[in-house]
């Protein structure tokens, strides 16, 4: 996966590239760049809608994005955030942004939105960290409540920063419910290298591979793990046509829980992600300057 950070990997003529996506690149890391041609870009959106609507319903709903509009401004160099927002926006209408340019919760806009659709099901989307940091924390700090009883939240983007604050999935759901009464919260797992074919978390708390994607857990000798055995996550997607991204060895550790028999009714492999692999504490005398 790190190779996308070091090289411009593409499998079509550069002239066919219509869009370049960049990972958000947390804190000082170099960013991955993913090159999309027209058909790959289109397929990503179609598949994202297909997968997500299996959870949110095919009917479109009013949509509240827990982010700022400026995240999607530069259309040439898409960030993973921007791509996620634009992709998921297709599931809804009257798309409203909950945060202003300074990442402050825009109470006026949110208030108007909630009031307008108070009798309808609404859809919310945001990155896990953004939802936590700028939505939940703000409301909790001010002791304010927003009524999103009819809301469905789809969120993703990783738990790295939240696990640093000792917030896990259950805590996230529970505390979020405290401030906005939201019941339906779906996490998804995916990465910018395979935008579109995301893995959604079902009602039982398991991530599901779709017909467009699969996961394989591997041991340190790269043999395939047994079910319930934690290993390195290899991600498989049908979508990439313009770059070598069909199969990617991630840096996450996960565990297959079962196949075709999740009580939510969805077929395919379902699994859990345990987090990032432990970073190296290499021995040696390479650096004194720390």
């Amino acid at each position: 996966m790190r190779l996308f950070k070091d090289y411009e990997l593409m499998s079509v003529e550069r002239s066919k590239i219509v869009k370049t996506m960049a990972s958000s690149g947390t804190t000082g890391q170099s960013v991955s760049r993913i090159f999309l041609d027209r058909i790959t870009a289109a397929n990503q959106v179609k598949v994202l809608v297909k997968i997500a609507s299996n959870f949110t319903g095919t009917k479109r709903h009013p949509m509240l994005i827990i982010d700022t509009k400026s995240a999607i401004k530069d259309r040439n160099l898409f960030s993973a955030r921007g791509a996620g927002i634009l992709g998921f926006s297709i599931l809804g209408y009257d798309v409203t942004y909950a945060l202003d340019e300074d990442m402050q919760l825009d109470f006026d806009a949110v208030g108007v939105f909630c009031n307008k659709y108070k009798d309808e099901n609404i859809l919310l989307f945001g990155f896990t960290y953004m939802v936590w940091e700028f939505f939940y924390k703000k409301l909790a700090k001010l002791g304010k409540q927003i009524n999103l009883e009819n809301g469905t939240l789809v969120h993703g983007g990783g738990w790295k920063k939240l696990s640093e604050q000792a917030v896990d999935n259950d805590t996230f759901r529970r505390l979020l419910k405290d401030v906005c009464k939201i019941n339906r919260v779906y996490n998804y797992y995916g990465m910018v290298e395979q935008t579109g074919s995301v893995f959604m978390e079902c009602e039982n708390g398991y991530l599901h591979s779709s017909i467009f994607s699969d996961v394989i857990m591997r041991r340190t000798d790269f043999s395939v793990c047994d079910m319930h055995e934690a290993g390195l996550v290899q991600l498989v997607s049908l979508l990439p046509l313009s770059y070598p991204g069909h199969t990617i060895l991630s840096e996450d550790i996960g565990e297959i829980i079962g196949e075709d028999d999740c009580s939510c009714g969805r077929l395919g492999n379902y699994f859990k992600i345990h987090g990032r692999m432990k970073s190296a504490e290499l021995r040696g005398c390479s650096d004194t300057y720390a």
Binding site: D6, T220, M277, K278, A280, L282, R283, S286, D287
Partner: protein
Amino acid sequence: MLKEYNITYLVGFKKVSTHPLVPYDAQLCEFLNDLSSELRSCTEAVEYPDIMTFAFWCRKANITKYRADFEDGRTRLGLGLVFHITPSNVPVSFAYSFAFGLLSGNANIIRVPSKPFQQTDVICRVIKRMLDNDKYSKIKSMTAFVKYEQDDEINGMFSANCNARIIWGGNVAIKSIRKLPIQERCVDIAFADRYSFCVIDSQSVLELDDAGLEQLAEGFYNDTYLMDQNACSSPHLIVWLGERIELAKERFWSAIYSTVSEKYNLVEVNVVDKYTLLCKNAIEFNSISSFSNHSNFIYRIGMNELPDNTDELRGKCGYFYEYDASDISNVAHIINPKYQTLTYFGVARSSLLDFVVKNRLPGIDRIVPVGRSLDIEVIWDGIDIVKRLSRIIDVK
């Protein structure tokens, strides 16, 4: 105006006496030998193989050998005060650095790793306790072990007052320390990033009996996997000489594999790193002729040509480059001043010495048998450290 710095003195105090002693002075040797026995009888210390290696190193028999090598009839005294900046990610190197400074008759301020290592604490505690003995009052007044977070102001303060610095570190670290002013006659010894390789004669591998092969594999394991191939003296490149090289490789690597798979703890990040490096090498180098692996424990990259920047071919945690040569002189072109250790098996050391001298090579300071690459010596990086850290009093 004096500023208070956030420095922890694990041993000693701010005030360090800078009156030197004669190198290998009897009390210095005795102190190190006592340290050796104290460590070997300390229940906390015996748990750590790296502390035990150090304890074994500083015992009397070894130091006496160094002393005999050192004697040349001249009279010397230590330079005064040595400031040591030791590796932050190796727990025990600071102790060797201290021993070098001490043996050369100097007072020492040793910056220990700021990362918390049990080994650091154990060694410092033992030294502190020993220094409370009156017979070591002189050494006590000459010794301080300090710990602080990376801070150039503190490094600068110690640098300004010392007569020599020993700097262990990557090139960036050394450059940055070098910017800090020192006294005009201050001596800098920088143990910078180096590159090392290995030469093996295939016929000799094929002639080994099973016990000999196992011993070779152990030795190679210690040179490489023991420090994740991350030590300056761990080889990355293996040059094969002789006939029937393919057979010899097969025998050699099977033996390595059985040792490694038994002893080495390979974790996820290692295999991701190795696999990523393999992909990068495949993208960047045209001279790769083959790849083979023994599970994920051993990655082998065959090279049909060695580029001038071969010292950038660095594997970690069991990742090796291999090159078949009809003669060792075929690799003379890759040697630059970065090359430190050449480990050998089945090759006459005189021919390797000739290789360096006759070709007037700018690198390779050390030629040792496989298995001894990590042995630290008072002659390191081509420098006789004790002589460098002392001065001759020339009498006519």
